[in-house]
Amino acid sequence: MSTPTIDPAAGPAGGPSTPAPTVLPAGPVVLTNRERLAGVVQAVGRRPADVPRRPWESLLVLGVSTLVYAWIGYWLVVEMHVVGFETLDRLNRALMVWHNDPTKLSALGFDYPPLATLLLTPLTIFTSPVRALLVVPLASAVFAGLTMMTLNTMMRRAQVLAPLRIAVLVAVGCNPLVVLYAAGGARHFIWLSFVVVALGALFAWYVTADIRFVMIAGLAYSVAALAGYSSLLWFVLSLLMVAAVLARLGADGTEVEGTTVGFAAPTVYVIALWTAFNGLLLLDPFSWITDSSDASSSGGLPSFSLVELATATGKLVLHGAPLAILVLPALVFAGVARRNTFALWLAIMLAAAVLTPALAVALRLTDSPLLMRNALPILLLAVIGGIWLARSAGDASTLVSAVLVVGLLASIPWTFSSMKTYEYQNLESAFAAAVSTRESQEGTRTLDGSTVGLISEEAMAGWIRDNVSRRSSILTDNAQTYAVMLLTGRPDLFFDRVDASDGPWLEAAKDPAEHVDFLLLSTDTDNDLLSQLYPDAADGADALLTVAYSTPRYTLVAVPAGFSRVADSSDDEGTEGTS
């Protein structure tokens, strides 16, 4: 132990020597969050407050819209028999995901954008509603409800008064074009609803500078992209808009880059993934775009001169979405004269929506030129534009909203009348006739020459349900007989092209007695691979393959024990293909 040094001297002068001072690093030490975020346009905590969330109001709009369209759709499909076969095809694929033998996700196929079918799979978990066709209207009504909900939220952000919001929703919702596509099960409202969600999120982002909305918009576009490839156009335009708006607000390059990467990543990912799937499974990575009905033509497109295209585009807007004629110039004026950036970009998007159908024809990217349904995106963008104009109008907001309502209401009878006669259409005239006459449209012909109705399918499905119980006992080309399969609610009864892919299916088609008890053939042998193999049987004229049951569009023949098809080279021609 040592002794402590006690210094008797009092006073500072007697104090011990001081240690040498240590040289510490100088300069700025730590940047605070505030300093770090000083130049950031979209910094959390420095943004205007958003409107309060009202989940119950949103759910109410979603629920009411969905129920109304489902109810109208049920009447339209089940009683009026106005139904698109494409919807039945997608629903059958969705049904096969759960109930095929074996269950297979590959039932989704590559014919449609994958989410146009995958998003319907929750509707087909239970088969009873499928057989009763309850799910057909739901397949579009839910997404139409989502669209209405988004429009309502947009109007809340635009501070449109509640009565006017309801009036706008009713006026949009009652538009006959909207009603047909919202209630009839068509896929267009699937991708359109997500595009509207994305635009609604960008609307919110522009108002609040909250970057969360950019991400929501990015995610919504990724779903939209795989539900309808046309939405990629709005995605690209929105991407440019995000970058341009940020640059205009003074964001630096890093913020612009980071935000656009965040916005684009989901869509780029899903497209890359889908391209990879196409590459792996079809050996053509771009088959999704080159073979898709959304963006390809089979060559049967008639020629259009520029004048004809311009005229047809004018007619499309005039008959399908006349509101755009008011809104587009107003947006351009607000954008240019009042330096309203978002208005300008909405104008660009609306103009793109107007021009796209004609452009698709000019570039020969479609088989179905300037269809009336092409007016749907124009109409919805015009409504969004109108809402933005109402928000930008300041004190005149109520007046603009009222004009929007009047414009929408006025277009209802006009569009309804046009649906009966518009040249390029699907089920519009049948829908208009059903609404006008309250009579079933079974057997009527549409303006494009298709026959309306599904009695043949229902009858065949009913017979099969009553008489066949062994799984995989009916060989069929599901790409043609999907409606029957759907209406049985038992895809497991069928040996289809999804079960074990085309190879084993073709083997079974050539030697059916080894595999199945029946062949379900489409009487239209143009596209049905099985009917091409057994054309006589499809006509009910094959001596060995006796008809078990037939309808005008289908023939079910029994396969006797020991039956073997005598193959020849000509028979095999044209049987290659994929489902």
Partner: protein, 726 residues
């Protein structure tokens, strides 16, 4: 622009302003609005009071208007436009004090007593007269004194205007007490321990010798009569006080009581809460359950090989799915909103620094000598009076380089070198436990050596503690990195932290789920931390474990919007070491708290129980990743039917959803975290995070294996590799 008016009858201008005979005086009354232009502390310290505005000039009563320090303080701190003239008007000290008391009624304990004022003045005079302090230094110290009320000498030492020894010498002169030098003193441990440790700590006193029937007591500051009698009663004899250097005294107290501190640091939790200590990795019951589960699986594999494999794959897929959904739900909740406790600048500015408690900062250091100067700089940059900081630099005994570096720096006494005796387990929590026993703060926080906290973090934490309920005993600040741009690894690390601290933890805090605390920047109420048994020295993620433990005891953790920047690991092997420790710690923590699942469920409720398991489950998911990646890759290249059979129907759908949607969602959440934080430069690197997950799985397996081979080994992270990106 300041002018001076001397006395009631004459006026002398020392600035551009002028005074006249008609200049109003305090006796004519005090304008409250004018008085509010200067804070009370400054008014009392410098005996000045703004009392009127005449002809556009502010009249300030001053007891000593000729003092240049007074003049400068008034001109710098008077809250008024810079171009408005200020006139110092000479008054007597009594007049000024009376006027100040009238405007700011004195509160006992907050106002300096005449004796204290006399001692302060005497000290200031001594130091300035001998040229030991520059006027600027004195002025700054006086201004701080006026804000905090802390002793002038302590402030001067804290700001290194004078050394502690000079202050001790000055105090010995003022108090007429002898000094004692303890720098090379070898203590008599028996004598030293005659004063019980709690008393020695509280009074900062140690018996150092006996002479003439009295114990010579080294003290940091003169003790009052009550304290002296308390000491005399404890040591059993009269004492004579000797003033000592605070740093030397602190070292002496540590040396005298080191055995006690070391024992408590290692065994405290083990003895007080044995069920919560990880000193046993797997309990007997757990071993039995694990063995039985293993045997059952093997038996099933033998009897139903494919069915069992499908069941295992299904189970793993289900775990994947629920862990992912839980994390996704949390992040969605936090996206774009402020779930943290928000503290505004105005609230920070409104804090009365006289009311600020002593704040302990624990900084564990091991072989980090090079980083100490930067650490000292950053701690001194905190917006908190240094005189109320209690910084413990916790060094291991064998780390002589760091210890010598700290000693050589001659740091002021708010920095305390704490040398933790060399013993097993040699872990950060043990060092923290050691330091906690020496802590004097009502609140404490841990910072790592390379940390750079937001300067206002301590004040934000205090305000947050005041605002939240009493059940909140821990405030977690956000962590992120200052060298995120260094390379891909650091950018990924920053992506991950952004998601974790900007989205996941705030959402967990908002839902009152048990939060696994981050390694640093967690602020505690010290008393509760001690009551909880502090950190588990045997757990290598003691922070996560403590977060769960405090939740089980009914306490809660909240988040604040303040960030501490750390150094992101920039070298893969170093990163793997750190991450393997974290994963091993998660496994340890899961095993500890699942010793009695029923008890955990009862204490945390169903949601808390699920949250805990799903949070810890993420570490187990990392173990599964390579297996599933291998199966997927093998299947893509071989289309092996066996693999297809492992994923029938619903299992395949769940696995596909996780593969194609879940993975992307997690990538995107990394993007979202960075965007939420406003770190746009690293957004694109987040898109490559699946490669980072590969590293994470590697580290997870390393940690998992080490759990059985070397459970308490602390994989040390090397710092200072930021290559100038700091």
């Amino acid at each position: 622009m300041t002018a001076t008016v001397q006395g009631p009858g004459t006026s002398t201008s020392t600035g551009t302003g002028t005074g006249t005979r008609s200049t109003p005086r305090l006796v004519h009354g005090t304008d409250p609005e004018a008085a509010a232009l200067l804070p009370e502390g400054l008014a009392r310290t410098f005996r000045v009071l703004p009392y009127a505005v005449v002809d556009g000039a502010v009249l300030v009563a001053a007891a000593d208007p000729a003092d240049p320090v007074v003049e400068r303080v008034v001109s710098e701190h008077l809250a008024q436009p810079a171009d408005r003239p200020v006139v110092l008007v000479k008054h007597t000290a009594n007049e000024v004090v009376a006027a100040i008391d009238a405007v700011h009624p004195p509160v006992e304990g907050r106002v300096e007593t005449p004796e204290q004022r006399r001692a302060r003045t005497q000290l200031a005079t001594m130091l300035t007269a001998s040229g030991l302090v520059e006027p600027d230094q004195l002025q700054r110290a006086l201004v701080e004194h006026s804000r905090t009320g802390d002793p002038l000498g302590d402030i001067l030492v804290a700001h290194e205007s004078i050394p502690e020894d000079v202050l001790v010498a000055a105090l010995s002169e003022i108090h007429q007490m002898q000094r004692v030098g303890l720098a090379d003193f070898e203590p008599d441990l028996v004598l030293g321990r005659r004063l019980p440790e709690p008393l020695a700590q509280r009074l900062q006193a140690v018996p150092v010798a006996e002479a003439e029937g009295a114990v010579l007591l080294a003290v940091a500051r003169p003790l009052d009569a009550a304290a002296v009698s308390e000491v005399e009663e404890a040591v059993g004899s009269p004492v004579r006080q000797l003033l000592a250097n605070r740093t030397d005294l602190d070292q002496l107290i540590q040396r005298v009581h080191s055995a006690h501190y070391a024992h408590v640091a290692t065994t405290g939790l083990m003895e007080s809460h044995p069920d919560s200590s990880a000193h046993v990795v797997v309990t007997g019951t757990q071993k039995a359950v694990l063995v039985m589960a293993l045997v059952a699986t093997v038996v099933c594999l033998v009897i139903w090989p494919m069915g069992t494999l499908i069941g295992l794959v299904g189970l793993c897929s289900a775990i994947y799915l629920v862990v992912s959904i839980y994390k996704f739900r949390l992040t969605l909740r936090a996206l774009g909103t402020h779930l943290e406790t928000d503290v505004t600048d105005a609230e920070i500015a409104a804090l009365d620094e006289r009311e600020l408690p002593t704040y302990t900062i624990l900084v564990p250091l091991y072989k980090e000598a090079g980083i100490v100067p930067r650490l000292v700089r950053d701690i001194n940059a905190l917006d908190y009076p240094r005189t109320r900081l209690d910084v413990k630099l916790l060094c291991e005994e064998d780390d002589t380089e760091t210890i010598e570096t700290i000693r050589s720096m001659g740091l002021p006494p708010h920095f305390h070198l704490v040398v933790v005796p060399d013993s097993q387990p040699k872990t950060k929590p043990k060092a923290c436990n050691y330091g906690l026993q020496l802590s004097t703060g009502s609140y404490c926080v841990i910072f790592d050596a390379e940390d750079r906290p937001d300067p206002d973090q301590l004040k934000k934490a205090l305000i947050a503690f005041d605002r939240v309920g009493p059940e909140v005993v821990c405030i977690q600040a956000k962590l992120n990195h200052f060298n995120q741009d260094q390379n891909l690894l650091t950018a990924w690390f920053a992506n991950e932290y952004s998601m974790h601290f900007e989205l996941v933890l705030p959402a967990m805090g908002a839902t009152e789920a048990p939060i696994p605390l981050g390694g640093t920047s967690n602020h505690f109420r010290t008393s509760v931390l001690r009551e909880l048994g502090a950190w588990d020295p045997f757990n290598v993620t003691e922070d996560a474990d403590l977060g769960i433990r405090l939740h089980r005891e009914g306490y809660r953790t909240a988040m604040i919007d303040s960030t501490t920047l750390e150094e992101a690991n920039s070298v893969v092997p170093n990163w793997i070491r750190q991450r393997s420790r974290w994963n091993k710690g998660y496994y340890q923590t899961w095993l500890v708290h699942m010793r009695n699942p029923a008890s955990l469920l009862a204490q945390t409720g169903f949601r808390g129980f699920m949250s805990f398991n799903l949070t810890m489950g993420s570490a187990f998911v990392l173990l599964m990743n390579p297996i599933f990646w291998a199966l997927t890759t093998l299947y893509v290249f071989t289309q092996w039917g066996f693999i297809q059979q492992l994923f029938p129907g619903i299992v395949f759908y769940a696995a596909s959803a996780m593969l194609f949607v879940g993975n992307f969602v997690f990538v995107y959440l990394n993007v979202a975290g960075s965007l939420q934080r406003g770190e746009f430069g690293i957004t694109r690197t987040a898109l490559l995070s699946p490669l980072y997950w590969g590293l994470m799985s590697w580290a997870a397996w390393k940690g998992f294996i080490q759990l059985f081979t070397n459970p308490f080994y602390w994989e040390k992270t090397e710092h200072g590799l930021d290559g100038g990106h700091a």
